[in-house]
């Protein structure tokens, strides 16, 4: 028992067991460490884990569409993903990879390979942006982890440059920057949702965390009063007129006088809302509402309304038109053609400045000022387009002795093209002013109606029905029949209207620029109950070709009315046989 060998065996067994038990105890102790980590250290470690693992992604809301009055799509949002390559995950040869990708995105393989080689450290090399459905599907079908799609929605304007100034455009981030896109941005935009995610170390989503999920609210839709076909007619007539007289620009507006709805609103030259950056800001501004001008002769019917309504003059009264030249102090007022004694009908028909100065004298400044203000000049109309100008009507105390004649001729006031046509619409609508509208109704994301009714919004009566009828049916008809508005005459419809030609103030605002004119015509048809009122303004025509409103603008208005009325199904009111044999 106590032999040396036996004692060594005993020692070996004993010490071996002790050492092995020690190792087991260490292992069990490490089990205790596991508990410690999962209790005492747990909160701080889990907090760290959350910070590095949790992220989130917005679930973009779909932007609503913009429609015209007949449901044509004017602006829509499409999914147009970007195709990008993660160079670190390209397996094998870059050229071989580029060759495979090339036919799917329709980009030369050499270009792809070069893009990848130029930024080898990047994880996100965009190969093609805003690709269509077919390309996206072809890229997906590659099943190559190096190629991915970055979903992005793109605003598209199916009618291209048409209605661009009214619609406006959106920025890269999808926010409306101009026009209806900006004015109704919060309605169109909706509300993005949020999805919390757990991601891997390369920030690729592994799964969504359910407790952090806010679904997106899609944007609502906007229906405009614009009729894309009438808009097209107006744009075409405007473009032809501008180009014919080599003008700088032009504006056309078409309204329904009975409802205040804007059926067309065009500026020329126009631009592509898909690429607004390619033109100067001047071109993108919706000048029909933002840029006031001196109205000139087109202003005269409003003064006459005020004079008749206030019984300052009578319809039969004769005025001495001084054979074309009248001195007021040191100032000389001239007419285009000399006239002797004329009644108000003659004054409007021939657009006599001298006659208008006599009428203005008769009214006096307070009545003039009151008349202008009643027609809404100097105040925004309240149209839904952003950036509308007030225009400018000086306060009465700032008027000088010369102001009486100037205002009577449509100078010393600034009115926006929209204010001007809305004033005409007021006279045509029995003297009742409506708020001009370009948004017919708002729809929710599902197409349900949102907000108030579509009925016309009445601002108030400006002139009596009797006088309004007299001015339109006698005076303004005569302009087209016998006076300066002959260019707007139509074969099948009777037209009324008023021309205007103003000198343009130089860019520094001090003097009238030589040979710079604004030619205007406002017209409506048919006379009995005008369905449409249309206005065309031609700015800075080549004065050697033509510059009077009667020449540069009246034919365009005739063109617009002549095409739009049949389109709307308005029956012709002229005896066609009589018209055919003048």
């Amino acid at each position: 028992m106590s032999s040396p060998a036996a004692s060594i065996d005993q020692f070996q067994r004993r010490s071996g067991v002790v050492l092995l038990l020690c190792s087991a105890v260490v292992l069990l102790g490490l089990g205790g460490r596991l508990v410690y980590i999962n209790t005492t250290l747990r909160d701080r470690l889990l907090n760290y884990a959350e910070r590095q693992q949790q992220g989130g992604a917005t679930m973009p809301a779909r932007r609503g569409i913009i429609l015209d009055a007949r449901g044509r799509v004017l602006a829509a949002t499409e999914q147009r993903p970007d195709v990008f390559v993660d160079p670190s995950r390209v397996e094998g040869d870059v050229d071989e990879f580029a060759n495979r990708l090339s036919p799917r995105v329709n980009i030369p393989a050499a270009n792809i390979a070069e893009k990848i080689r130029r930024r080898p450290q990047s994880r996100f090399v965009v190969i093609a942006s805003g690709v269509d459905d077919i390309t996206a599907e072809a890229v997906r079908a590659m099943h190559d982890p190096a190629v991915n799609l970055d979903e992005r929605s793109v605003r598209t304007y199916p009618l291209g440059e048409s209605i661009a100034h009214v619609l406006g455009w959106v920025g890269r981030d999808g926010a409306g920057l101009e026009g209806i896109e900006a004015a109704f941005d919060s309605h169109l935009r909706g509300k993005d949702g949020w999805r919390g995610t757990i991601h891997d170390a390369r920030r690729r989503a592994l799964r969504s965390s359910d407790e952090e999920m806010i679904p997106p609210k899609d944007g609502g839709h906007v229906v405009l009063t614009i009729d894309a076909e009438i808009q097209r007619i107006a744009e075409q007539a405007l473009a032809e007129s501008v180009n014919r007289v080599e003008a700088e620009s032009g504006i056309a507006i078409v309204m329904s006088p009975q409802t205040g709805e804007i059926l067309a609103m065009a500026c020329y030259p126009t631009f592509d809302p898909n690429d607004p950056g390619s033109v100067p800001t001047d071109v993108r501004r919706n000048r029909a509402v933002t840029d006031p001008v001196e109205p000139g002769s087109t202003f005269k019917p409003f003064i006459v309304c005020g004079a008749l309504d206030g019984s300052h003059i009578s319809a039969t009264e004769q005025f001495d038109c001084h054979m074309g030249v009248r001195m007021i102090g040191s100032r000389t007022i001239k007419d285009v053609k000399p006239h002797g004694m004329m009644d108000v009908k003659g004054i409007i028909t021939h657009s006599s400045n001298i006659g208008m100065s006599m009428i203005a004298d008769r009214m006096g400044n307070p009545a003039l000022h009151n008349t202008i203000r009643r027609f809404g000049f100097g105040t925004k109309t309240g149209i839904e387009c952003p950036g509308e100008a007030d225009g400018r009507v000086y306060p009465l105390k700032k008027w000088s002795k010369l102001s009486t004649a100037s205002v009577g001729m449509g100078y010393e006031v600034l009115v926006s093209p929209l204010q001007l046509i809305n004033g005409f619409a007021t006279i045509i609508n029995d003297g009742v002013m409506l708020r001009p509208r370009i948004v017919k109704r708002l729809l929710g994301p599902g197409g349900e109606a949102v907000g108030d009714s579509e009925s016309p919004q009445i601002v108030g009566r400006v002139v009596s029905s009797r006088i309004a009828h007299y001015v339109t049916e006698e005076l303004l008809v005569s302009v087209v029949e016998n006076g300066s508005g002959k260019g707007a005459k139509l074969e099948h419809y009777s037209v009324l209207g008023k021309t205007g030609t103003t000198k343009l103030i130089s860019r520094n605002g001090k003097i009238y620029e030589p040979d710079a004119y604004l030619g205007t015509f406002v017209g409506a048809a048919p006379v009995e109950r005008p369905a449409l009122v249309a206005m065309v303004m031609i700015r800075r025509p080549n004065h050697r070709l033509a510059y009077y409103g009667s020449a540069v603008a009246a034919p365009a208005v005739g063109e617009i009315l002549g095409q739009a009325l049949p389109y709307l199904g308005v029956p012709p009111d002229k005896d066609q046989v009589a018209a055919a044999t003048p």
């Binding site: 050492l19 087991a24 747990r42």
Partner: protein
């Protein structure tokens, strides 16, 4: 003190069963840890995925285990084999370790040259000589100190050759792989102690070993940085503290019952070496403290089997061998779990039977097979008359 006589042996199948259980858990965890967003678990070809490779390694390992268990019975009975095979193995291991340091043959892996490249047979096959060295050194020491005519108390005939062999192995391994060197030194010292070497001889070697390890430590600056950082991971969470912090985050993410098998997040790029040295962390994330404790208990059960085998061994050689192999596996497991739970600096030692990898698995399988063979021989009648 309790007198420990030779006891009834454990069933060899029980040793193998525990090893197979641990290996199976390891295979599942390797599969989970290498799950990828980009491909399925077994695609494109099964042997090219970490999971598929580990499954193949496991099958080879099982074959090695069963072969060793079977062949070990006659081999252990032969005195000449007992005397010569450990020496041959040892020389082979030392030669391979030296070869791994030759630049042309080495396969640089993670900045350390610890792999020997054995050519390509359609798939890359590397071999870590340090794994073979573990087995060889334990066998060599058991043979040197456990033979019938050996005298462990002798300085010249037992201690000196043993010390030289340990020094050679530890030195060659330690040049590139500090963790395994420390492991080898620790296991070898334990064998010398258990074999019955004189205490002052041992203290001498402990002193020398400590000095040697210190030299190795300062030879590679990154080791010092790791040691400095390991407890202060909050101070440098993206630099040297990254690995320990991510390991703790992984373990803490599991809670008591885990996030569920396959549901771990840390393996997706946050925790480096998640399927090799840190597979235990992934296991704790997905199976919780419960899963971690289960693995620890299985290792304890393995230690218990080792104790029973050691106590029932027929010869001193087999006793020392059983002790050495069991102890090696036990402290390697402890070392790995200690690293994962940030109780010691990162060393690069895999968890036996669970971490992905071939060389280490084959070594452990051979060790388990030897244990089973020793246990089997202990059940036999005392045919060769050796008793204690």
């Amino acid at each position: 003190m309790v007198a420990l006589d030779r006891t009834t042996p454990v069933r060899p199948a029980a040793v193998i069963l525990i090893a197979v259980m641990l290996m199976s858990i390891g295979l599942v965890m390797v599969g989970s840890a290498t799950a990828s967003l980009d491909r399925s678990l077994l695609a494109p070809r099964i042997w090219t995925t970490p999971f598929g490779r580990q499954a193949i390694f496991m099958l080879i390992g099982l074959a090695i285990m069963l072969l060793t268990a079977r062949l070990g019975i006659p081999l252990l009975a032969s005195p000449s084999v007992r005397a010569r095979l450990p020496k041959i193995l040892f020389v082979l291991a030392v030669a391979l370790l030296a070869a791994a340091l030759v630049p042309g043959l080495a396969d640089p892996h993670h900045g350390s040259q610890r792999w020997l490249h054995l050519g390509r047979f359609g798939i890359g096959v590397g071999f870590q000589p340090s794994e073979l060295a573990k087995l060889a050194l334990v066998a060599f020491l058991a043979s040197l100190l456990g033979e019938r005519n050996a005298n462990p108390r002798s300085f010249g005939r037992a201690f000196l050759p043993a010390a030289l062999a340990i020094g050679l192995c530890v030195g060659l391994v330690g040049k590139e792989n500090f963790g395994t060197a420390a492991l080898l030194a620790c296991a070898a010292g334990a064998i010398l102690f258990v074999a019955g070497c004189r205490l002052h001889h041992l203290l001498l070697i402990v002193g020398l070993g400590a000095a040697g390890l210190t030299v190795l430590l300062f030879a590679a600056p990154y080791r010092l940085a790791r040691i400095a950082a390991y407890q202060d991971f909050w101070g440098d969470p993206r630099g040297n503290g990254y690995q320990p912090l991510q390991s703790l985050v992984t373990v803490a993410s599991g809670g008591w019952w885990g996030t569920g098998l396959g549901s771990g997040v840390q393996k997706y790029g946050y925790l480096p070496e998640s399927h090799t040295d840190f597979v235990f962390a992934v296991l704790c994330e997905e199976l919780g403290v419960f899963g971690g404790a289960l693995v620890i208990l299985l290792f304890c059960a393995f230690v218990w089997m080792g104790i029973r085998t050691m106590l029932s061994a027929r010869t001193r050689f087999e006793r020392l061998l059983a002790f050495g192999l069991t102890f090696l596996v036990a402290i390697q497991a402890a070392m790995n779990v200690a690293v994962v739970t940030v109780m010691m600096p990162t060393t690069g030692v895999p968890l036996p039977m669970l971490s992905a990898g071939g060389s280490g698995l084959f070594t452990v399988c051979a060790a388990v097979g030897l244990l089973a063979a020793i246990a089997h021989r202990a059940m036999l009648e005392d045919a060769d008359g050796v008793t204690s």
